[in-house]
């Protein structure tokens, strides 16, 4: 029977009406899924008891996809088709990614978001992320025993509109209903804020696999407000691996390596980094494809000196975040550590020195974001009563439009709390101008060329007037997910044009639909492949059993019966070699039918065998 969970008073749901909701931390290196069970937020493990799913997706030539640990193992063998840290590419163009020479992928530069050429075809980072989300969704459904009503997915506070939309699209393809996108530091604060019921101003220092975020949050009476957010979207634990990797190259006098060797050394570098959290020194060994042996000892001191400037790079955004919040390090009541990389002793030490206090780390830094997201998901799904709390988030980067001369006019300044709506009036610059192009931008810089272009649209049908007479009101609306809606309205005649900002990275609705169809198609293929596999197994078992029976009890059959069975066996063996599942099924049934009387005869014989050789008295005592 079904297993039940304890509900809050008066919130028991009717049977089959449970609102199962999860929080997902879709990380650069690892992803996790958590839920609130019996009032407690818990991370859901896979069948092997592992909480973290490596965010690694491998595509094989037969279009099959492996995700997680299994894919990670293949990294050094098949780096080109094994996508790691795909989060770095979400909603990014090739030029945003920077130096790609060290990456083993075959990039396809398309308008907007880059794509990756794999052996199974060209894949968008959205599709790759969807594969990760799909595995987490299935894990959650198995663990909760039902379909999910929705999920809260976390994103770095730094993610711009294109990156957020890409994340939402990935969820859609994975069959998840997104209740809300939540900033990672806010999720961490929810996990800590509720469990510890603390109030005050906190800093969330999140050094993940591929991104660094620092957020200054204020917690008061259960209300979370992000005062400021800053960071470096291209700095994380991976960079520490990279440092060790470079050190290995230098030490061993190695030059350009092939992708397999690069991957192998990076994997070894990561293991060494993790070792150095607990130990003073570690030994790194690897055999390259050339047969060359790498064997070095790395000490904690050496690692600290080579990673010193990486840690310094995290302190700069930290100062900026404090400045934005108009606070000093002394105002911070506590520092929350998030991300596996914060386990490194040198990170704990540097952060501790900066704030003059020991950072909080009583929750697992790898899990804290997922745990907080689950609490939020539980609330949004309506499974909690009473003490409701508001969630305030901020816009990480200013939003504005292009004005004459390639300049950006900011309409919503960064760090505005969301949801929000702001409007500003603009006018025409030429006599008789009847149309106006609205170019939506995101960023802090003054020049259009330095900001990120989010969308462009036109407002037409403006009545011809002298320059400066028309009044065009441009309204920016940002919803609770941080997604932007822009509308422009001519105040005289009421002409209006609007756009939901999302196509900036190049995935149109049609493409999303295609990807959705693809994923459904694949699900069908997968099911067919599985049905076929099962049918084949059954056929082989049957053939073996009949063969065995013929050898043992062949004398029970007359010549005609025997040749009928043998003919059906030949048919079945033949259809095993073809792709036709239906024909295989028919052949299995035919052989089954052909052997019914034979099976009956064997049964009779074995019953007779039990009875013969025993006298009546033996039978009676039973």
């Amino acid at each position: 029977m079904a297993l039940l969970q304890i509900s809050e008073p008066d919130l028991s749901t009717a049977p089959h009406q449970h609102r199962l909701a999860v929080g997902i931390d879709l990380g650069t290196t690892n992803s996790l899924v958590a839920t609130v069970r019996n009032g407690i937020s818990v991370v859901l493990n896979d069948e092997n008891g592992r909480a973290m799913l490596p965010s690694v997706v491998r595509y094989a030539a037969d279009s099959s996809v492996t995700v997680g640990e299994a894919a990670q193992i293949e990294q050094s063998v098949d780096p080109t088709n094994t996508i790691i840290s795909v989060k770095r590419f979400m909603g990014r163009g090739l030029k945003d990614v920077g130096d790609t020479s060290r990456l083993p992928y075959r990039f396809v530069d398309t308008d907007g978001m880059l794509q990756l050429r794999t052996v199974a075809g060209v894949k968008s980072p959205v599709e790759v992320s969807a594969e990760i989300l799909k595995v987490l969704r299935m894990r959650a459904e198995a663990a909760l025993g039902g379909e999910l009503v929705g999920a809260v997915i976390t994103v770095p506070a730094y993610f711009d509109d294109a990156q957020r939309q890409a994340t939402k699209d990935a969820a859609k393809i994975a069959g998840l209903n997104v209740l809300r996108l939540l900033n990672e530091p806010t999720a961490a604060a929810i996990a800590y804020g509720l469990d510890n019921a603390s109030e005050g101003v906190y800093a969330v220092y999140d050094l993940g696999g591929g991104t660094f975020d620092i957020s200054i949050l204020r917690l008061t009476r259960g209300v979370f407000e992000v005062l400021s957010a800053n960071g470096d979207s291209a700095l994380g634990g991976d960079d520490f691996d990279q440092r060790i990797h470079c050190w290995l190259l230098e030490k061993n006098d190695l030059s350009a390596l092939n992708p397999q060797d690069t991957r192998l050394l990076l994997t070894q570098a990561r293991a060494a980094k993790e070792q150095l959290t607990e130990h003073d020194r570690t030994r790194i060994t690897a055999v390259l494809s050339s047969g060359e042996l790498v064997d070095n000892v790395l000490t904690q001191d050496e690692f600290q000196s080579m990673s010193h400037n990486l840690i310094q790079r995290t302190l700069q955004p930290l100062r900026r975040a404090l400045r934005d919040a108009k606070l000093s390090a002394a105002d911070i009541k506590g520092v929350v550590m998030v991300g596996g990389a914060t386990r490194m002793p040198q990170v704990q030490q540097a952060v501790g020195e900066f704030f003059g206090q020991i950072p909080l780390n009583n929750l697992d830094p790898d899990k804290v974001v997922a745990l907080g997201a689950a609490i939020q998901a539980n609330l949004l799904a309506g499974n909690r009563s009473g003490d409701e709390w508001l969630l305030l988030d901020v816009i990480p980067l200013s939003l504005g439009i292009e004005t004459m001369g390639g300049l950006v006019e900011k309409i919503i300044p960064r760090n505005s709390t969301i949801p929000t709506a702001r409007a500003q009036e603009f006018t025409t610059y030429k006599d008789g101008q009847t149309a106006m192009s609205i170019h939506v931008l995101q960023g802090e810089r003054e020049l259009v060329s330095d900001c990120r272009s989010l969308a462009k649209f036109e407002l037409r049908g403006i009545p011809a007037m002298v320059a400066g007479a028309a009044r065009i009101r441009v309204t920016f609306q940002v919803d609770a997910d941080g997604l932007l809606n822009v509308s422009a309205r001519e105040m005289g005649c009421g002409m209006e044009a609007a756009i939901v900002v999302k196509p900036s990275y190049g995935l149109s609705d049609a493409e999303i639909t295609r990807m959705l169809q693809d994923s459904v198609q694949h699900a069908q293929d997968d099911m067919q492949a599985r049905a076929r596999q099962e049918q084949q197994t059954e056929a082989n078992q049957l053939l073996e059993a009949v063969q065995h029976a013929l050898v043992q009890d062949g004398e029970l059959l007359d010549h005609q019966q025997r040749s009928r069975i043998e003919a059906q066996m030949t048919v079945l063996q033949g259809s095993l070699k073809t792709e036709d599942t239906l024909a295989l099924k028919r052949a299995v049934n035919a052989l089954n039918e052909a052997t019914v009387s034979f099976a009956q005869a064997r049964m009779d014989k074995s019953v007779a065998g039990v009875l013969t050789g025993k006298n009546i008295s033996q039978l009676e005592t039973k």
Partner: protein, 108 residues
């Protein structure tokens, strides 16, 4: 009167859940009419005692059952089990004659 009881495993989990939740008198167990087989279980944290509540104590955990529900769950033991990746409470109810396929609702 037998009342209702918890298995040792269930009691340990309930105590743990209440401790983490930070409040609660105990566990409220009851039945409601609904579902595909007529009746459904209710399993909630209890913060308040109601007038017609009956109290039972099992392995140190207070169980509250309203008087109307008791006849349907008299003699029941609540267990905590794990099935694959899923885990939760299981109702071993001697009064049940029929269950719906999923076991979430039942008939007496």
């Amino acid at each position: 009167m037998m009342g209702v009881t918890l298995s040792e495993a269930a009691a340990k989990h309930v105590q743990n859940f209440i401790a983490k939740r930070g409040k609660g008198l105990g566990l409220r167990i009851g039945v409601r009419t609904s579902g595909c087989s007529g009746m459904a279980y209710k399993l909630e944290f209890a913060d308040q005692l109601a007038e017609d509540d009956l109290q039972f104590v099992s392995h140190g955990v207070t169980l509250l059952v309203d008087a109307k529900s008791l006849p349907y769950i008299e003699g029941m033991e609540l267990d905590y089990t794990r099935e694959g990746l899923n885990e939760g409470f299981k109702f071993n109810n001697p009064n049940v004659k029929n269950e719906c396929g999923c076991g979430e609702s039942f008939q007496v």
